[in-house]
Symmetry: C2
Subunit: 446 residues, 2 copies
Amino acid sequence: MSSSATTEVTGQDHVWSVSEHLDDILGSVRPLEPIELQLLDAQGCVLVEDVTVPVSLPPFDNSSMDGYAVRVADIAGASEEFPAVLTVIGDVAAGQGEQPEVGAGQAARIMTGAPLPPGAEAVVPVEWTDGGLGEGPVSGMRAHSAAPEGASGEVRVHRPVEARAHVRARGSDVRAGDRALAAGTVLGAPQIGLLAAIGRGTVKVRPRPRVVVMSTGSELVQPGEELAEGQIFDSNSFALTAAAREAGAIAYRVGAVADDAETLRSTIEDQLIRADLVVTTGGVSVGAYDVVKEALSSGGSAEDGVEDGSGIEFRKLAMQPGKPQGFGSIGPDHTPLLALPGNPVSSYVSFEIFVRPAVRALMGLPDVHRPTARAELAADKALTSPAGKRQFLRGQYDAEAGTVRPVGGAGSHLVAALAHANALIVVPEDTASVEPGADVEVVLLG
Amino acid sequence: MSSSATTEVTGQDHVWSVSEHLDDILGSVRPLEPIELQLLDAQGCVLVEDVTVPVSLPPFDNSSMDGYAVRVADIAGASEEFPAVLTVIGDVAAGQGEQPEVGAGQAARIMTGAPLPPGAEAVVPVEWTDGGLGEGPVSGMRAHSAAPEGASGEVRVHRPVEARAHVRARGSDVRAGDRALAAGTVLGAPQIGLLAAIGRGTVKVRPRPRVVVMSTGSELVQPGEELAEGQIFDSNSFALTAAAREAGAIAYRVGAVADDAETLRSTIEDQLIRADLVVTTGGVSVGAYDVVKEALSSGGSAEDGVEDGSGIEFRKLAMQPGKPQGFGSIGPDHTPLLALPGNPVSSYVSFEIFVRPAVRALMGLPDVHRPTARAELAADKALTSPAGKRQFLRGQYDAEAGTVRPVGGAGSHLVAALAHANALIVVPEDTASVEPGADVEVVLLG
């Protein structure tokens, strides 16, 4: 990043393309250092280690049915008419310490998941027996607490089974030494289930980034308060905090900071302790009260910027909305900072196109971008776009029909239209007009 | 829901289809009562009120550019060669209290978002002026704090503008009395931004449901601890807590409860105070130690169930995995309870098919189901499925290719395979075999 201390008045000659600015951001932002987290705290995070299975699953041969553990020779040829009659020597329940040994002519009542007891070769489902009641086939066992006598007496078996029938073999799911999950896996519910199943209580992942969001502007009032003349409600700090959370971050909303360079600088400095990324809105353009630019360009002078490798560069982008943008790093830890424009639609579009990928890059996620699709433009008239700029229009995408319809106009203040959009329509730099029916690229939001 | 107190041994004749069970759940679960929440606490929730715009946006005519507020007659015919020279009478910054009145031959320096001062008719962008420096066109203003003299002196304007140029009219985004958002809207970042912009600090939504997740089984050990003989790690309470959060719930993981009916009953009773929905795993089948069934069938007897309208019914479903299921309500508030089978894959599939829709129904979300797609079965051999059952196999869906490939087998204990799946392949009840290349339905996970 080059110095920007002298750019306020004369500006920079270079107008950055969307891709150049994004490449600069993604080339600078490094994934966060991994930490060991409790399993459920790691949800949504990226695993940074190959996880090996320490103990085979299941860890022992066990029953896949509620039934009777038997020796197969004892029930060869059994039928409902000529049942095999076995002596029930006890119960084998899951998690029960001792197991009876099943001898010739014997059976142990066994529950799903319980270890196959010594001597037994297979399991007969309870539905293929009389359940020890001496009558016809049953559909289940009576609760042990209500009928403890079920663990003794005789049982009539109505069907033969082969050796290993209804037995889940030790290691049939995963074997000790197998790789359970590869580094780079994003941990969703089934992956967390697998890690728990193999006994992992904690896991090494990249944490969620802490994103500090602040809006700037002396005109901003907290929603719910009274507006005085010339004031508006702060919406950016709310929208972007929500967007940061949706991107996977832990987001802190600082709220609105007045247009005073010293106040802004000290607020940012205060917040750095809990920030992996700072996002500001407003104050980045060519006005005389653009304090973000003022505070961050002059706070570290050009020389400081070179010395410690940090500094924020303010740029003009060939983009609509979102022309003025700032990016760089700040503070002793070189915390990345993105300074977005203050118009609500500009800041939201800028967040989607630049900040969201940065948040996801910090998490180490493999895919940092929103999904895109191609759609047919459903519009009454052609869309016009300034030549040489990449334009992002708000649209309603209909996946079934494969169409997208613009909502609201190109104005960067149309926050109402934005709230009814589910996509951004991308009009490339070399396109000045898009006819109805044309094929366009859309960025799918949410 | 009918009584189930006498079903443990004899079972019920009726085998429920997946659809019947799901219909019963969705027919019983009512959306939670709305509460007023702070905006950012309402993220992801469903709005239950039509929100009307109390004050037009923007609330006053304001500048869309950094530049000069002028009267158009004063700059008619201006060019770089023959600039119009105006007296600068001061600054109009956003959020500044007093505004200068712009008279004939005068201009006020104005910042983006600042109110158009009285007397002015349009805004000339600073780039179309000499910025008061008496030289050529400039690309921006110097910061007011560094150069306060910029708010006085003369400015040369190089281009004329029409009346209202670069002015955003009061009410051009939304007008007071318009409906900003309709009841039923799900609040994402742009909707939260709009609500803030119109001054709403709080909003009435259905809250996220609090879901208590507990697994049952005396064989279960907390991951990270040592396994003794016959024990396995508790994975269900982790996987389902994560899945509940992913569905939108606030989830509490109680962990594993031993197979003792009294302990289970009192644990559930304790948890009811923080539960909008209770999910248990294990203990729902036909074994002699299936304590969930035992505790919840006998705890309220059949008569109690009828009296207070609560009670859990245990069923057999025509489903694989996931045959044994319990559903009903419990406690003084008739809190819904879903009792899932204990096998990790069975419980996860059951969660996806039954619990997730229940969570989303509690939130009042319009679409409670996972998206589905059609895909070509990519397999080396035909898939077989038990006749009369709806089977859910784990699969890797490739959206680009439009194919799905089974991962792992049909076994309900194959938690490793589940962790590598991104879809469930649905084999309908009337299908006993699916050939490679056949068109199948897939449920898209995550």
